[in-house]
């Protein structure tokens, strides 16, 4: 394709209209920034308003009674694309779970935040609603080791989840009613 070069008038060839136009535009922007406001968001002081459903860092949550919800099923560990999650199950003679009627809870639960890609697969796959992508997007640490969050830290950051579904209370009631199998009394 051939693009015809526009023929400039003598006034245009003096560059003066272009200069004046440039001055007008730059002055407009300069004055606007000086007297009103720059478009810059000054980050650490000002933060984004995060939309609902924002996918930040994954943290573990507790139920309203303060029990660990995770049952150490390791589904999130298997689904995690960058292999950021590492779960150590309690083993046959490990610590009993916080929660009545739950079979087990993880001995250790680590998420390497340097590997995590915030995809949300762990939240999606979790049968217990124990892991949620929270609103933290700015994770900092001085060493790589510091960026591997352990169970304690994840639980603390995750806080309590108030969901409408209380699966284990229901199960506990059912088990008690049926006396189907020995139930640990909470």
């Amino acid at each position: 394709m051939l693009v015809k070069r526009a023929k400039l008038s003598w006034l245009e060839r003096l560059y003066f209209p272009a200069l004046l136009g440039g001055l007008k535009i730059t002055w407009r922007h300069f004055a606007r920034t000086l007297f009103k406001k720059a478009v810059t968001m000054e980050y650490p002081e000002q933060r984004h308003q995060l939309p609902a459903g924002y996918r930040g860092a994954p943290y573990l949550v507790k139920d309203p009674d303060g029990n660990t919800k995770c049952v150490s099923c390791q589904l999130c560990e298997f689904v995690c694309p960058p292999k950021a999650i590492k779960i150590i199950p309690p083993g046959p003679d490990g610590q009993p779970p916080d929660r009545a009627n739950a079979e087990k809870m993880p001995r250790e639960f680590e998420i390497n935040m340097l590997r995590c890609i915030f995809c949300g697969f762990c939240q999606e796959v979790c049968p217990e609603e124990a892991i949620f992508l929270k609103e933290d997007y700015s994770l900092v640490g001085l060493t790589r080791g510091e960026m591997i969050y352990n169970k304690e830290k994840l639980l603390q950051l995750g806080g309590t989840h108030h969901g409408p579904i209380k699966k284990w209370e229901q199960k506990l009631r059912e088990a008690r009613a049926q006396e189907a199998f020995p139930v640990k009394q909470g």
Partner: protein, 356 residues
């Protein structure tokens, strides 16, 4: 040659160089702030030395203004690794930054930056061939850039050096010829005499159409001489990576940087002296040499104020106009400004002959 002269001259030189270096550092800050504002940003506003920033109200304001940024910049340049690539021509590679910076500093020697302070004339060297000296020195600046481009021994710096030699030599001609009408009217090459002539008969920008044309040509040539943006062929980032200073790092790069801004200051001062009456103002009797100390300081302030105005013009234009193409640049230099400046000289001569 007596001791008084040597001591007073040394003091003047030290003061002028310190002032020049400070202005260079802060013109970089102004450049960054102005560019930020034109682009709707805020610019540097974080550098805060611990004690100063703790002063209530003033401290945070200065920090927001970025007043301490040049200190941080300077520290960064000093602490960076001074890297010399293995493929360069070492001696010239090390020599080039110095050669690029020194001429800009030497130019201020002949610039009268004030009237008198006490009994001293506020000019380091009141040469009778002032303007010839400054043009001679300014034309040395090209050697630093050419040397840097050649000594780097790699293609983009080389292109930068070649371009700058062509550009600066071309525009020096237009620049030199553009000021001839001014000196024809003054009848003297001494810059102090030029200021005196303007104090008596009005600034040269307004005095006649010929000198106004001189000013326009000088201004445009000054942009080309200092490698500033509409004509920054030697270092245009989009084509030549960084141009002649691609291979430089740390303090050696900083010297080129200082040189560029010092050259801008030198050319701004020349412009103020030649066309805008130097340290004079045409009212309140400010166009007579100062009798008191306060008046002397006021004259220096007036000079600095005018010079800073031109620095802002230099900086503003950089963010206003896109870069010219290389052939357009040469075309403008040789086919427009050189003939125009020549015609201007002839016209002035005819006009002066007519008036006489």
């Amino acid at each position: 040659m007596d001791w008084d002269f040597i001591i007073i001259s040394s003091v003047k030189i030290v003061c002028a160089v310190v002032a020049l270096l400070t202005m260079v550092a802060y013109s970089v800050l102004v450049e960054r702030k102005v560019s930020a504002f034109i682009q709707d940003r805020v610019g540097p506003n974080r550098t805060a030395p611990p004690l100063v920033a703790a002063i209530p109200v003033i401290g945070p304001f200065l920090v927001r203004l970025g007043i301490f940024q040049p200190l941080a910049d300077g520290l960064k340049f000093i602490l960076k690794e001074d890297f010399t690539p293995s493929h360069v021509r070492k001696i010239y590679f090390w020599l080039a930054p110095a050669v690029a910076m020194v001429p800009a500093f030497l130019t201020i020697a002949v610039i009268p930056f004030g009237s008198t302070l006490g009994k001293q004339n506020m000019v380091i060297a009141d040469l009778n061939v002032g303007i010839l000296y400054s043009f001679g020195i300014v034309s040395l600046a090209v050697y630093g850039i050419v040397l840097a481009g050649w000594a780097s021994n790699s293609k983009y710096p080389f292109y930068g050096g070649i371009r700058s030699s062509a550009q600066m030599i071309s525009y020096e001609i237009a620049m030199g010829m553009s000021v001839v009408p001014v000196f024809m009217m003054v009848g003297h090459l001494n810059l102090s005499e030029v200021i005196q002539a303007q104090a008596d008969g009005g600034w040269f920008v307004w005095r006649s159409p010929m000198t106004f044309l001189s000013f326009v040509i000088f201004l445009i040539a000054a942009f080309a001489e200092t490698n500033r943006l509409p004509f920054d062929m030697p270092e245009c980032e989009t084509e030549l990576v960084g141009g002649y200073h691609t291979e430089y790092s740390s303090m050696k790069f900083a010297l080129f940087f200082l040189g560029e801004y010092a050259a801008m200051i030198a050319v701004s001062s020349l412009m103020v002296v030649l066309f805008f009456g130097g340290w004079t103002l045409p009212f309140f009797g400010l166009n007579q040499p100062a009798e008191s100390l306060g008046m002397g300081l006021l004259h220096i302030a007036i000079f600095l104020g005018k010079m800073l105005f031109f620095m802002v013009v230099f900086i503003w234009v950089r963010w206003m106009i896109p870069r010219f193409r290389y052939d357009q640049l040469m075309d403008m230099g040789w086919k427009r400004f050189v003939p125009l400046a020549l015609a201007n000289i002839v016209l002035t001569a005819v006009w002066m002959w007519w008036m006489a």
